[in-house]
């Protein structure tokens, strides 16, 4: 019935909730990674600074929900007008004899009133929405820039801490001794292979000796798998964690950028869309006049 339309803000509100979640997760994993490398001081500092990001995330959610409330108030206005009209119509039908003088007139007046009521609600909602969107846009665009940079650097913090975990697996003294020993075995085996190739069939006796050593080396290398394979597993897990972190922060940054674009699009939709302020009301006025005219003609 109405001629005014409000832009769809639901996807933006949903995206804001997602952004807020990304901020919560980003902060959580970064602190956990810092704690895991015994960087408690950095973890505390980061956590304190990140609280402001969480507050910003909460404010963004409240803002987005306020946009939804405005749109809902416009829709609710139309809905309440409709409900009231239905009830009044039923009232008129139930009391037909009461309003026998002009039952049709009551309905027409009622419908016109409903239309005006709808339009007033929608226009007010559209104007309030435009006001809120325009008022928020500069701060919101800047917040998005800050949060994107924050998420980039939080991602780097996560990566650096995660890299430290991975590197520490290799650089601790016990592992170094073991890796050195294993490397020596491998180098000796390679040297024996090279000697065997060079000697060929001319040094069969020597080859027998080298074959025995090669078997020994093989057995020692196989025994080293007891600690070498778990180490490789830990390294693979650390690399995977680092990749997962990179994906999380990349997604969070992308989400922030798209969210800011979505808000800018809403602002444009309100600015470039149909005129909300007067067209609906004018049409409503015309309709009221026409309906009033019809009542007079009866």
């Amino acid at each position: 019935m109405g001629c005014t339309a409000l832009p769809e803000v639901g996807p933006f509100v949903d995206a804001t909730h997602e952004l807020n979640l990304a901020l919560e997760l980003g902060g959580e994993v970064s602190v956990a990674e810092l704690v895991s490398i015994q960087a408690e001081s950095q973890a505390t500092q980061f956590d304190q600074a990140w609280q402001a990001r969480l507050r910003a995330g909460e404010a963004l959610v409240n803002y987005a929900e306020s946009l939804r409330a405005i749109v809902a108030s416009g829709d609710q206005g139309a809905q309440s007008a409709g409900q009231l009209s239905d009830s009044l119509t039923q009232l008129a039908l139930a009391t037909g004899v009461v309003f026998t003088g002009a039952p049709g007139a009551l309905l027409v007046v009622d419908q016109a009133a409903q239309f005006v009521q709808e339009q007033v609600a929608l226009v007010r909602a559209a104007e309030s929405l435009a006001t809120a969107l325009n008022a928020a846009q500069p701060a919101l665009a800047r917040i998005a820039q800050v949060l994107e940079l924050d998420l980039r650097q939080a991602g780097e913090i996560f990566e650096l801490a995660s890299l430290n975990v991975e590197q520490s697996l290799l650089t601790n003294e016990e592992t170094q001794v073991r890796l050195g020993y294993r490397l020596a075995l491998i180098e000796e085996r390679q040297a024996l292979y090279a000697e065997d190739l060079a000697a060929g069939e001319r040094m069969e006796r020597a080859l027998v000796g080298s074959q025995n050593r090669l078997l020994e080396l093989q057995a020692l290398l196989e025994a080293s798998a007891q600690w070498y394979d778990p180490l490789q597993g830990q390294l693979a897990a650390a690399r995977q964690r680092r990749r997962n972190g990179a994906s999380l922060f990349f997604a969070a940054r992308t989400s922030t950028r798209r969210w800011a674009e979505a808000h800018a699009n809403l602002v444009r939709a309100v600015e470039d869309g149909p005129t909300y302020s007067l067209a609906g009301l004018l049409q409503a006025a015309v309709e009221v006049r026409e309906r009033a005219g019809r009542i007079r003609e009866r």
């Binding site: 409240n62 007008a81 009461v98 701060a139």
Partner: protein
């Protein structure tokens, strides 16, 4: 011959000195820091034999590696901290807009409720006026219908109350 093909403690010591000098000159980018930390790891992995001197060099290299990473973390934590005040101010500005938007939504809802209540009041007045005109009359059928009208009005009133206070 690769850069790790070193066979003397003096050679490893010189190599570590070279890496430490690189650490002094390293840029701020994540890539440079990551690459430098990996070079310290390579130093530790390749250095040999595991004499006390080499182990000591490894410990220095490992501390330098960790410092490169923690220093990079410190810089980023500080950078995030430096933007906090600006973010707090921006958040406050947004919160003001939110309060205004919430008030606007509430106002629109309130206006709807007022409008509905005005209509309801009008309907009640009409029914009351009619009841007044029928007082003392013989038209039982009209009185019955009027009773039905009042019952409907109660329903309308309940609906309007629900609209006025959806929570």
């Amino acid at each position: 011959m690769n850069e790790w093909d070193i066979n003397t403690e003096a050679g490893w010591s010189a190599k570590l000195r070279e890496l430490l000098e690189e650490a002094d000159r390293v840029g701020e980018s994540l890539e440079e820091r990551r690459a430098l930390s990996q070079r310290f790891v390579q130093f530790i992995v390749h250095s040999h034999p595991h004499t006390e001197t080499i182990k000591s060099l490894d410990r220095i290299a490992d501390a330098a590696r960790r410092n490169v990473l923690l220093g990079s973390i410190d810089e980023r934590v500080a950078a995030i901290g430096e933007r906090t005040l600006a973010l707090v101010l921006l958040t406050e500005r947004l919160e003001e807009t939110t309060v205004e938007a919430q008030a606007a939504a509430a106002s629109i809802r309130g206006e709807e409720a007022r409008s509905a209540l005005e209509s309801l009041t009008l309907s009640v007045s009409q029914v009351k006026a009619l009841a007044e005109s029928l007082r003392g009359g013989e038209d039982r059928e009209r009185l019955t219908r009027l009773q039905a009208a009042l019952e409907r009005l109660i329903v309308v009133q309940q609906e309007v109350e629900a609209i006025s206070d959806p929570d």
